[in-house]
């Protein structure tokens, strides 16, 4: 299959307009004859579901949480980017586009990213109209802050809870449509299979997590907005329930998985403290606006940070990247932290660096710092028991976001016709590294302003037809899903799901983490299959399938991660270059920066499932750069 990305031709600035002009429409009266399933109710899913319902479609939305408001977008802290140029500091649509492409190390599509930058401004307008309480100055105008990888202030924020406020905006829009009878939300439901009829996505199989019952839903199209897969590393900043299952099962039904090795390790997280820890907590990148990152100049310096004089501190980000300093992009900052800790300069247990606010508190006063980051300092205190107003925070990188995801074309449609993929679940806009405050932008761009146009074109092309779960494909899907659940219960082994997840996490973090080599990737590929086999022979899943059974939920998600982790390592091995968050130690410059290989790897790697026993097939979508020249990505 040749991957047709459907990207329009012509000047970048006109592409989305021209493309929309050619998309088919459906008249308002006819829209109610169509049903769309939206799986996931985060920023992308909730905004899509609300907008589709406003247009007149019947929408069925699904989330595994007990309320759509709890999707993990809620935890995004720092902000959302837009090219408004309100501060008059030189921003523009082109600059946001360029920063995003460069931030992604030239591994994203020009057309998609330019559209994202164009749409960014409308998102802020929309959210303000919904009542999102963005930070304002006294006169009432919107405030901006800076984020990594940019030299302008284009990030809008609502204290340290921007994701929460944007999600509540989308959730409230969703709630309004529920009230209007246009959307049915199915909470505590987990999608366990995609149903494909005659080559088109026509429904899903979902498990009611309370009763355990498997349910079938039929529709004219299916939208996945199911988030990312950073939990494959076990410890990550994601919610514990975040999973790859919906995307993985869609992959097994024919959707290609693109660039799985592009994972983001976020530099500012609270370091690991013990073996039974269940998650890592992120501290917003916005902290790097005012905090300075340093380590002692002496290895394993036993003194406490306030006893170490200025001259004996190494502000290594400011030293290595004077142009961007502490606001170097995430992949670069994370790698620098890892390198300095590997060299023996780490603090605490050796896996940490200081993030110090002493200067900022002296210059701006404690109250200003409290108003900017108070909730983050409070969170740090609760988790570590340490007061960051008095002594520097300790931070270390942690898995945070997945740039990779299901392959989609310019219309956000996967390789399965009728299956659309939004937000973090797709691979489309961030290349090999995502810039801070761009995930919220992308999720809402996809849901509010892109999908509603492109899905209409698809639906108009297929006609309403009849939506019924009578097709054999629905029965077969339910039967296969039930068998899988029964198999998990039947093992009755002696190890818990959590123990296996920790093992998988160790393999991936040590071998497919911030630094990867052919040797480490081969090791991961050798270690994952036996672990998977052991899982299916020794896992202990208590209880029944027709009950509220959280261990069974976790076991199903881990079973998918045990397969997906192998694809991640395989993709990382295939990509024999360094780019963005994918750092192959064989390919680096003299000063330790990522060395891209545009001659051989200037493509999107899209993997096709061919059965459990057959290796997946690689399809390449070559990236074209017509408007910008690819360059060595420098933040010096």
């Amino acid at each position: 299959m040749i991957l047709d990305n459907q990207c329009p031709s012509g000047p970048l600035a006109d592409q989305w307009d021209n493309h929309r002009r050619n998309l088919l429409l459906i008249n308002p009266d006819n829209k109610r004859k169509y049903t769309v399933l939206v799986v996931g109710t985060g920023l992308a899913g909730a905004s899509a579901a609300a907008t589709l319902a406003e247009l007149g479609y019947k929408v069925e939305a699904f989330c595994y949480q007990d309320s759509p408001r709890r999707a993990h977008s809620i935890a995004a802290q720092g902000g959302i980017n837009a090219a408004k140029n309100y501060p008059n500091d030189g921003d523009s649509i082109y600059r946001l586009f360029f920063d995003t492409i460069k931030g992604g190390d030239f591994r994203a599509r020009e057309s998609n990213v330019y559209r994202l930058a164009q749409i960014s401004n409308g998102i802020i307008d929309q959210c303000v109209a919904q009542g999102v309480p963005f930070a304002r100055d006294y006169a009432g105008y919107l405030q901006n802050r800076s984020f990594g990888g940019s030299q302008v202030s284009r990030t809008f924020f609502a204290r340290g809870q921007t994701g929460q406020q944007l999600l509540l905006g989308a959730y409230q829009a969703l709630s309004r449509q529920i009230r209007a009878g246009k959307i049915r939300v199915h909470t505590r439901r987990e999608m366990l299979d995609l149903v494909v009829v005659a080559g088109r996505a026509r429904g899903i199989t979902a498990r009611n997590l309370v009763s355990g019952e498997l349910e079938s839903y039929a529709a004219n199209a299916v939208v996945l907005a199911t988030g990312g897969y950073a939990n494959v590393y076990n410890l990550s900043t994601n919610a514990l329930g975040s999973n790859v299952t919906a995307a993985w099962r869609a992959y097994k039904r024919g959707a290609y998985f693109a660039n799985p090795c592009f994972t983001q390790i976020h530099p500012t997280c609270i370091p690991v403290s013990g073996n039974l820890q269940s998650k890592l907590t992120l501290l917003s990148e916005s902290l790097r606006n005012d905090g300075r990152i340093w380590v002692p100049r002496n290895r394993r310096d036993p003194r406490s940070p306030e006893q170490i004089p200025e001259a004996e501190r190494d502000y290594f980000l400011e030293r290595r990247y004077p142009g961007y300093g502490n606001l170097a992009p995430r992949d670069i900052a994370s790698r620098a932290v890892k390198q300095i800790c590997d060299a023996g300069f780490g603090v605490g247990n050796g896996q940490g660096v200081y993030l110090d606010f002493t200067d900022a508190i002296q210059n701006l006063g404690t109250e200003t710092i409290r108003s900017r980051y108070g909730n983050l300092f409070d969170m740090y205190l609760r988790i570590t028991g340490e007061d960051a107003y008095r002594r520097p925070m300790r931070i270390f990188p942690a898995p945070h976001y997945s740039m990779g995801g299901l392959w989609v074309d310019y219309n956000l449609q996967s390789t399965v016709p009728g299956l659309f993929v939004l937000g973090e679940a797709n691979f489309s806009d961030h290349g090999a590294n995502r810039l801070g405050a761009s995930a919220l932008m992308q999720g809402l761009a996809d849901g509010y302003f892109i999908l509603p146009y492109t899905i209409t074109d698809y639906l108009a092309g297929t006609g309403p037809g009849r939506n019924a779960v009578t097709d054999d494909a629905f029965d077969q899907s339910r039967t296969a899903t039930e068998e899988c659940l029964q198999q998990l219960l039947a093992v009755r082994g002696d190890k818990t799901v959590d123990e296996f997840h920790r093992q998988l996490g160790h393999i991936l973090w040590n071998n497919v983490g911030m630094a990867r080599s052919e040797e480490s990737l081969q090791r991961a590929l050798q270690q994952i299959p036996p672990l998977r086999e052991e899982f299916w022979n020794r896992v202990r899943v208590p209880g029944r399938s027709d009950d509220f059974n959280q261990e069974l939920e976790k076991a199903g998600r881990l079973a998918d991660y045990l397969e997906f982790g192998e694809l991640l390592a395989r993709d990382a091995l295939n990509r024999n270059e360094s780019c963005g968050g994918h750092f192959r130690v064989e390919h680096q410059t003299e000063d330790g920066e990522a060395l891209r290989d545009d001659a051989n790897y200037n493509y999107v790697a899209a993997w096709e499932y061919r059965g459990d026993q057959t290796p997946p097939r690689l399809h390449k979508e070559t990236l074209r750069f017509d408007s910008i020249e690819t360059a060595v990505r420098s933040y010096k």
């Binding site: 406003e54 408004k84 109209a129 009542g131 809870q161 609760r382 988790i383 509220f548």
Partner: protein, 253 residues
Amino acid sequence: MNLTLHVWRQKGPEDRGRLERYAARNIDPELSFLEMLDQLNGELIREGREPIVFDHDCREGICGACSQVINGEAHGPQAETTVCQLYMRQFQDGDEIYVEPWRARAFPVIKDLVVDRSALDRLIEAGGYISVGTGGVPDANAILVPGEAAETAMDAAECIGCGACVAACPNGSAMLFVAAKIAHLASLPQGRPEASRRVCSMTDAMGREGFGNCSNHYECEAACPKGISVKFIAQLNREYLKTLPKAATSKAP
């Protein structure tokens, strides 16, 4: 540290439920309360017993999923802290700890520590939004919101919808939850046009869903992990009072 837990176990909505006693041994004080339960669940699973079911997700205090009454207090002893952000260093070796679900008429127990909080979603559906569709809105800076109003709106909007206010209230009232949404939207110029309809509709829904009335105990504020102030209840009441003359003079729609 070693602890004795008394945990509410209930197989389903029809089951009567009971407290069961568990020994939690060798607990690292650096663990969170939920990680301590994870550890205990691991032991229960290996012993062939049913693990304790509880709601949780983000484990960083923002999703609002976790919902446990610990030693009689919603979200436990630490002020402005969700259960997931409560760390075992807050407890002493040898402590006895009672763990129960939210208890309120509007929140029926589903299993063990998990309750059905969908009533809160229905309160929002009743009007906790601004009726704007996607597209066709003015430039973001065309709607000026004075810094102070934005701050007030944000103070209220920080609500995570966990339901601790309801669980802590002797009347099982959702007044603080509703007030937070009313105040968030009524403090903004965008939210003013629908303010009176919103407050009537949401307070009506509160009664329908089985929440009790507010009788000014302020337990809600004390339990709220985000420190949402009861002053917003006063603001709700003001918004509500403003609707009364209108209602008296206008015909029913």
